[in-house]
Symmetry: C2
Subunit: 377 residues, 2 copies
């Protein structure tokens, strides 16, 4: 046993949980988290004191929150998480996800734990340099509806690039269906955006959706790179976060990544269960290599309020070892009146993913795009 524990460095990382229960229950629940995420056995069944000391999570603090919940800071030995993202996710919210009334609020990751993670390849500064847009907020548009053939999606892409949209991304519903097969779509849309760039002298990029069957993700990303696409869209909730991390880390691909929240809504639907938007869309997406992370902006029938959106932006920008920051990418309907509050919330460090109004404002999509770029500038 001694040999095993000699491997432990003593370095720990912390997960901050919100517990929805009474104070008495809070201590019990925190203890259950410490146990269930690690040894999965009660104290009296542990085969050695060292496992209690070194392996089982440790309650660093437990304090009441203004809303009646409790905040538990629980630390774990970094070796418990190992060096892989899947096991880190499992440590943070694996079995605990099945305990009622527990939400991960934020991660406080130590240098040794962060070391194997490269995070976003471009990050905010890198993406700005890549898009030759050093200061202004960025704009994204979504190619839709599903049902259009690749040639018509490419026409949309051309119009949006002509109008100065920085990032033109597939709708996540566009996969590799026969209606607009992936390869044809990537070729046509990439070509269309390049053609528009020649007209404008701009640096718009097309981001195909590479969400797919596990190995296909990498193949499609390599194809996209080969064809000349400027970035990648992926839904890590569907592919697994680690697949996105592999994409981001691949030198042959070397493209910026936009993460989409599809399939992840349940994690953030409940203030007392799941993972906070700050931790999920900010911290975890960055660990997994997203250069930008999109989510529904507040307003309309969004489940997020303004404060939540702001917290996502904070998670995208907060210090996290040497990891690059990422862009918050709110999907929003904007107009002149809304622009000030967007700036107030995000500053210039945002990618606004334009909603249906990009399509509805008038028949000329390039003009619509121009208009939104102008009011945001």
């Amino acid at each position: 046993m001694t040999d095993t524990f000699a491997l432990l460095s003593g370095e720990r990382f912390t997960v901050v949980y919100r517990l929805a229960c009474s104070e008495a229950e809070a201590w019990e629940r925190a203890a259950a988290i410490c146990r269930e995420q690690t040894a999965e056995l009660p104290l009296d069944l542990l085969p050695s004191d060292e496992i209690w000391d070194q392996i089982v999570g440790r309650i660093e603090s437990l304090s009441p929150l203004p809303d009646g919940c409790f905040e538990a800071k629980i630390s774990y030995a970094v070796e418990v998480a190992g060096t892989e993202l899947p096991q880190l996710l499992n440590m943070v919210f694996g079995k605990v996800s099945l305990i009622p009334g527990v939400r991960v609020e934020r991660l406080e990751l130590s240098p040794g734990l962060l070391k194997p993670f490269k995070g976003p390849r471009f990050g905010r500064a890198g993406l700005r340099a890549y898009l030759e847009a050093p200061h202004r907020p960025l704009l994204a548009a979504t190619l839709k509806p599903m049902g259009l053939p690749a040639s018509e999606l490419a026409q949309l892409a051309f119009q949006f690039a002509l109008g100065g949209i920085d990032i033109i991304q597939d709708a996540t519903t566009l996969a590799d269906q026969r209606l607009a097969p992936f390869e044809e779509r990537v070729e046509r849309c990439t070509e269309a955006v390049a053609r528009a760039n020649q007209v404008t002298g701009g640096r718009s990029i097309y981001m195909p959706n590479v969400t797919a069957t596990a190995y296909e993700v990498m193949e499609r990303a390599l194809l996209a790179r080969e064809v000349g696409a400027g970035g990648l869209l992926i839904c890590p909730g569907i592919t697994g976060f680690d697949v996105m991390r592999l994409l981001a880390g691949n030198d042959d691909i070397n493209l910026p990544i936009m993460a989409h929240p599809a399939f992840l809504g349940s994690f953030v639907a409940n203030p007392v269960q799941g993972i906070s938007p700050y931790a999920l869309f900010g911290q975890i997406m960055r660990l997994a290599g997203a250069d930008a992370t999109s989510y529904p902006d507040w307003g309309d029938c969004s489940s997020f309020d303004r404060e939540t959106c702001q917290s996502i932006a904070e998670g995208c920008g907060a210090a996290m070892g040497g990891l690059r920051t990422s862009f918050p990418a709110p999907e929003a309907e904007i107009n002149r009146d809304r622009v000030p509050e967007l700036y107030e919330t995000y500053g210039r460090e945002m990618i606004v993913v334009l909603g249906g109004s990009l399509y509805s404002r008038g028949p000329n999509l390039a003009e619509n795009a121009c208009y939104f770029r102008e009011i945001l500038a």
Copy 2:
């Protein structure tokens, strides 16, 4: 346009959603699902009537439920989902996961949609044949705590196999940490179980946890196969469901798969948001190739009640095209008194994953295992 739509077969599949809202809102919300999962544009912005007719989801029925919620049956053209699991998951609960008050109750998948899916490789009958246990309920034990070296985990495995446990699985906290590295653990535990089988004449198997970085999953599974492990444990919520499907479909691996619910708790934490346990642990796990799916049994601090557990068993066994059935694998503390209600709930078609009492009943683990096998028989 006509060419594109000539590709559509007219075959449709249905997703049954539970909507938590008033009747007036229910129609609106159902329409939002139809739209947001497909065209992502309102009717008046669709470029053609065919997209409305063929691509946008269709409300087949909307009816009140006894609890005040509404049940919406929404159908989609099979071509919209394509032939890949990631896109099917996206169709079922992609953007919709971000709409408040929507839960997927069940999937009604058509033959054409199911065609590309092989489902569980073994299924109930196959796993029973493989374990040479044609009739009785099966028993599983979990190797823990993390912190034990591989040699001591192997000793536990030996004891459990000696006591007649059918499936001896890693705790999901065991990944590839230095405390008990994957390769050494698989070799030692596999050998220990084989040695016990020689003593008993039984057919116990060891299932290492292959949850890992995307490509590593397959490598570890192949290593496990090579070493002679009898099955695989995986957390598809962490790796992505499609990674499990690839494992199940791989002829070189050819091992039964136990799916663990780690990281998936948020999907099933809320009766009016997420995915029903029936659909998630039953239907989706089968689509993704699980031969057995574990979950916390009712009682104690479980978030599941008995009815929910029963519904999971139903999802594991319900007709789904030609897909094999899977085993419900409740993680339970059992004793003589509980056995009748387990039979009432699951019949013999269950794998009972024994909890801490396997460790706590007495110092001789093989005897403990024997005892539980006896009271369950």
